[in-house]
């Protein structure tokens, strides 16, 4: 149902689908700033806003891939700047812990990006999206999970 | 202790005094200046233009050669020191230029050499305290102006031998030798350098400023680490005396010469005879010799 495939027409060639989990205070605001500053970046990313990167359940990431994402991006406040003082540290710690699990579940770590983008770093956000998009493009579509989607979505509960 | 040593062209000829006195002093302090088995001119100026890699080839050759003889290299002439140390940094930090240079000189040098000025050797390897102990002829009551010049200090990021605005390494040595260093404002200003070739007026003015600034605060002697500074100052002295009423020229010698003197070396061996303004009267009336 999603329209990414059609999109290929606009820039030519395969267009990856990227899901971004960002925190409400830094990265989401940074992305907004990119907008208010009328910067341009690749359209492949779909943002899901969460209060804090600390809220991110590793299952979100796996689900994203299961739902056809070719790459996933997680971005929050810089260490020390977390709106919730330590949320991003939790995220980082959890991230280190689950890296191996992700690999185990067959996810190429190059498809997974973790970054800090502050509310003022519109440029960094733009570069980040462009670079991630290009890298995923190189890797090609993520096939490992294709078909899983047809299984009943009880996993969501 | 044996330290690989790069004399440089000038020290082999007009600045022999700087070389011999340094070797002698080293011996007295229990280390040996092991002259590199092979060396060439350093180029006498660090190319300020970023694309002039050719200008780095000569010093690179020196460095790669020295690396084969040890992990440190010491030198006396400020200019050699400046050129070698900066070139070394380029080779160390700039992979691109490193590759090009190694291509030129057909070597594989990585910038791992530690370039030390003789002053640094005395401060960091020997220690001024130890120098002090070794003093046999304390330079009591001699008011000395320590003239750093440019190349020994700048740019700070690359050289970093001492605070670029308020260095003390030179004065600290002089204190160890029993002399009385005088603080003069122009000690880090320029002498006119290579303009000696075609712009004597400028050299006379700059060197004049330096000397006047030193004698102005009572310096009876000026010491330097750089043959070009020494040359410019001495050569300008007569003209400066004419141009500036009340200015009295003072001897300008190399720091290693008075170091040797203090360490009790044979005065004749120190090469004072080479200098235009005779230091002997001063030494005699201070009863040092």
């Amino acid at each position: 149902m999603s329209g990414h495939e059609e999109q290929s027409g606009t820039t030519g060639g395969y267009e990856p689908k990227i899901m971004a989990f960002v925190c409400n205070w830094c990265t989401y605001a940074g992305a907004d700033l990119a907008g208010t500053s009328r910067m341009e970046y690749r359209p492949n990313v779909r943002i899901i806003k969460l209060p804090c990167t600390g809220r991110i359940d590793p299952l979100f990431i796996i689900k994203a891939f299961e739902n056809g994402a070719d790459g996933v991006l997680v971005s929050g406040c810089h260490p020390g700047d977390c709106h919730y003082t330590t949320g991003n540290y939790h995220a980082r710690r959890r991230w280190i812990g689950f890296k191996h699990l992700m690999e185990f579940t067959g996810i190429d770590m190059r498809r997974l990006h973790f970054s800090w983008v502050s509310a003022s770093e519109a440029i960094k956000w733009v570069d980040l999206i462009n670079n991630v998009t290009d890298e995923i493009k190189k890797l090609g579509p993520f096939m490992e999970y294709r078909g899983l989607k047809d299984a009943p979505p009880q996993a969501a509960e | 202790m044996k330290i690989p040593y790069y004399p440089g062209c000038t020290l082999n000829t007009v600045a022999k005094g700087l070389d011999t006195s340094a070797r002698g002093a080293a011996e007295a302090l229990g280390f040996e200046m092991a002259e590199l088995s092979q060396w060439n001119c350093c180029g006498a100026t660090f190319p300020l233009s970023t694309d002039n890699v050719m200008g780095l080839a000569a010093p690179a050759k020196v460095l790669s050669g020295a690396r084969k003889e040890g992990d440190t290299l010491t030198t006396l002439c400020s200019v050699c020191y400046n050129v070698l140390k900066r070139t070394n940094k380029v080779i160390k930090d700039n992979r691109e230029k490193r590759a090009v240079l190694n291509g030129f000189i057909e070597e594989d040098y990585d910038g791992s050499l530690n370039i030390l000025h003789y002053l640094e050797v005395l401060r960091d390897k020997v220690g001024f305290a130890k120098v002090k102990e070794a003093v046999k002829r304390p330079l009591k009551g001699v008011k000395v102006g320590a003239y750093y010049g440019c190349m020994l200090l700048r740019p700070f990021e690359d050289i970093g031998i001492d605070n670029a605005e308020r260095p003390t390494i030179f004065e600290d040595l002089l204190k160890a030798l029993g002399a009385t260093p005088v603080e003069f404002p122009d000690k880090i200003e320029c002498c006119g350098a290579h303009l000696a070739m075609n712009n004597e007026a400028v050299v006379t003015k700059l060197s004049g400023n330096v000397m006047a600034s030193a004698t102005g605060v009572g310096a009876e002697l000026i010491v330097t680490t750089c043959p070009l500074c020494q040359y410019n100052l001495e050569k300008s002295a007569p003209k400066v005396s004419q141009e500036r009423p009340g200015f009295g020229a003072v001897p300008v010698v190399y720091f290693t010469q008075i170091l040797g003197l203090a360490l009790g070396q044979d005065v004749a061996s120190l090469g004072f005879d080479k200098s235009v303004i005779d230091i002997m009267p001063l030494l005699k009336n201070k009863e040092i010799i």
Partner: protein
């Protein structure tokens, strides 16, 4: 089946230029559960909102999607509108198709933008289906304010809050309030004396029934949240009983020991038992313990002997007091950059090279020279003074990249004071730009040049050195393109304004942000200039960056008005975005307790009818929980969820990807 309405905003041309809003509306109509869609020029306009309300009533909608600008922009607006039309505000979601779509994808064919807007909207629709109605949390507000820093900004804030009828505790780490302003001689551009305008305010603060002064005190620990802060304050031992001291000053008279005066910036000495300056508030001396022989090695004790009311106690110790506040105003001020960093200017080496603040003391009638301009080295009256601007400011290499803002003005003032006090004295000012933006500021600097004969030279100084009792200044005048050498008697450096030492530590205690120069961050540089990201904590004055007295005062008042607004009601409503524990499945591993940054999760028990504890479960304190969701991701048994961001909602959005 839900009845969802989707409203696509064109935002004039801001969205419509690169997104086919009409098509988005049509496409969304096909999504199951969506019963009404439309697109409109300005959804946020009142007709737009009316339309939304209308539709809710006519279509009996139970959920609203507005695809428009960033939720940070108008989420509140649309939720309010929905509420007005009778549906729960949290059943209204905003899709960001402007900042994160139309504005960043410039494809004129509208193709890219339309596709992305479709995806984003669809994801939000699916999410919305899982949104359960929420009600705002009401929390009580403690109507007492803490003001940190007793400079002019802090004093102003404290006075305004107190005038508003609320209690204030003003904490100052020095023995007296007054801050840096107390050091100034005259103030630009009016030239009225700093003491004359500041001292009355200081006294007013001391005497005000609603203000309690905690001088010589520092904030140690901050807990809690807006309306309910608990703060630990260390009241450093003054060795003098404040309540009984009459401020007669006998002790200071008799104290035989002297040390450098910090208040006079080393220009003179003070006694070991001292008040920083004559007009100190409170007028209670303190003993400088490290320098007091009595306290160090039980010698002397003269002060105690002469003290009439016997209020000196050498055994006195620091006290930690804990107070509760509803709001905090941070006004910790600034300090000057250490000039020693600029060896070429000889500060510290050359006695007659001083900084601007030291000059203020020389010019101040209550200063070490009684207001006569005399140079430190030999006490002579300088015949010429060179003022150097931008020392450390606008200097990426050795200093800071920003402009310190007040130096242009106070240097002009200095030249005036100098010409008024020393007739025939010549002042020179090396400047890069004269920045005199402000009411009557430009006229002021012009006066310094035209009436008070200040010689302004556009250029920097390269070096300053001594030559037979003179201070030689070697600079340049770029306008004439010449080198300039000046034989001066004294040099004054306009040193950069920097944040206070320890500004970062305090920020971490308070949980507020700061920039790379350790100046505190306002919530929004334009629209929320005195708020911080932490609700209930406000900023005032130079702790935010360089500014002059009028600005600091204005901010003090602004912060006060924010506090008073907060205190105007007994309760405040909070977003209901908090965690909830599923008591049935919680197996009390306490991972959430350790994870929570706010210690908002408590250990609770479930008892049976007999009142015996059956098992332990986690319990979230709604008042403390800030809704970060760290606990949710930490919970092994998936027994905690975050209202507004439930797993269900997020997964629904992901599934619609």
């Amino acid at each position: 089946m839900p009845r969802i309405g989707v409203f696509v905003c064109q935002c004039g041309n801001n969205i419509a230029a690169t997104v086919d809003t009409k098509k988005v509306a049509e496409d969304m109509a096909k999504v199951p559960g969506v019963v009404y869609t439309c697109d409109y020029k300005f959804m946020c306009s009142s007709p737009g909102q009316e339309m939304l309300k209308q539709a809710i009533k006519e279509q009996r909608l139970d959920g609203i999607i507005v695809s428009a600008c960033s939720p940070h922009m108008h989420e509140k607006t649309f939720r309010k509108a929905s509420e007005a039309a009778g549906i729960n505000p949290y059943r209204c979601e905003v899709t960001n198709i402007r900042e994160q779509c139309s504005w960043v994808h410039h494809d004129q064919t509208k193709r890219v933008g339309t596709i992305k807007s479709n995806d984003l909207t669809r994801m939000t629709i699916e999410r919305l289906k899982k949104n359960s109605p929420l009600t705002r949390i009401k929390i009580p507000v403690k109507k007492k304010a803490l003001v940190i820093g007793g400079g002019i900004a802090g004093i102003q804030a404290a006075l305004d809050i107190a005038e508003g009828g609320r209690e204030v505790i003003l904490v100052e780490k020095e023995p007296s309030i007054g801050g840096n302003m107390a050091r100034l001689s005259e103030t630009f551009p009016t030239m009225d004396c700093s003491q004359c305008i500041l001292t009355p305010k200081m006294v007013e603060a001391e005497l005000h029934e609603n203000i309690k002064l905690y001088t010589y005190s520092e904030v140690e620990k901050v807990d809690g949240y807006i309306g309910n802060f608990t703060v630990q304050i260390r009241r450093k031992s003054k060795y003098v009983d404040e309540d009984r001291c009459t401020g007669c000053g006998e002790c200071i008279e008799k104290c035989p020991f002297k040390t450098d005066s910090q208040f006079e910036l080393g220009l003179t000495k003070r006694k070991v038992i001292y008040t920083p300056f004559p007009q100190s508030v409170p007028n209670v001396p303190v003993i400088d313990a490290p320098n007091c022989p009595k306290i160090q090695k039980d010698k002397c004790g003269a002060c105690a002997i002469v003290c009439g009311p016997k209020c000196i106690d050498f055994k006195m110790e620091d006290k930690i007091v804990t107070e509760e506040f509803g709001a905090i105003v941070v006004a910790t001020g600034y300090q000057l950059m250490p000039n020693e960093r600029f060896d070429e200017y000889g500060y510290g080496r050359i006695k007659d090279v001083i900084n601007g603040m030291q000059f203020e003391r020389l010019a101040s009638s209550s200063g070490p020279t009684g207001g006569e301009i005399r140079r430190p080295s030999d006490g002579k009256v300088p015949k010429s003074i060179v003022f150097i601007q931008c020392v450390g400011s606008r200097d990426e290499k050795k200093g800071v990249s920003y402009c310190s803002k007040v130096c242009c003005m106070y240097t002009a003032k200095h030249t005036m004071l100098y010409s008024h006090k020393v007739h025939g004295g010549q002042s020179y000012v090396f400047y890069m730009d004269i920045r005199s933006g402000g009411k009557r500021y430009e006229e002021f600097t012009r006066k310094a040049i035209e009436k008070d004969n200040a010689m302004y030279l556009r250029g920097r100084v390269s070096r300053v050195y001594e030559k037979d009792g003179k201070v030689m200044v070697q600079g340049a005048d770029t306008l004439s393109g010449t080198q300039v050498e000046i034989e001066a008697d004294m040099v004054v450096l306009a040193t950069a304004i920097v944040s206070r030492d320890g500004a970062d530590t305090l920020a971490q205690r308070l949980g507020i942000g700061y920039d790379k120069y350790k100046f505190y961050n306002e919530y929004h540089p334009k629209l929320k200039p005195v708020e911080t990201v932490t609700a209930g904590i406000y900023l005032a004055g130079t702790c935010m960056g360089p500014m002059d007295i009028p600005e600091s005062v204005a901010q003090g008042s602004a912060a006060a008005s924010k506090v008073l607004a907060l205190f105007s009601s007994d309760e405040m409503a909070r977003e209901p975005i908090t965690s909830v524990v599923n008591k049935v499945t919680c197996n009390a591993c306490w991972d959430c307790v350790t994870a929570c940054p706010y210690s908002a999760i408590e250990r609770d028990t479930i008892k049976n009818r007999q009142g015996e504890v059956v098992r332990w479960v986690a319990k979230v304190n709604d008042g403390v929980c800030q809704g970060c969701g760290v606990c949710v991701a930490a919970c092994r048994s998936k027994s905690i969820d975050l209202k507004g961001y439930t797993d269900e909602q997020v997964f629904a959005a992901i599934n619609a990807f």
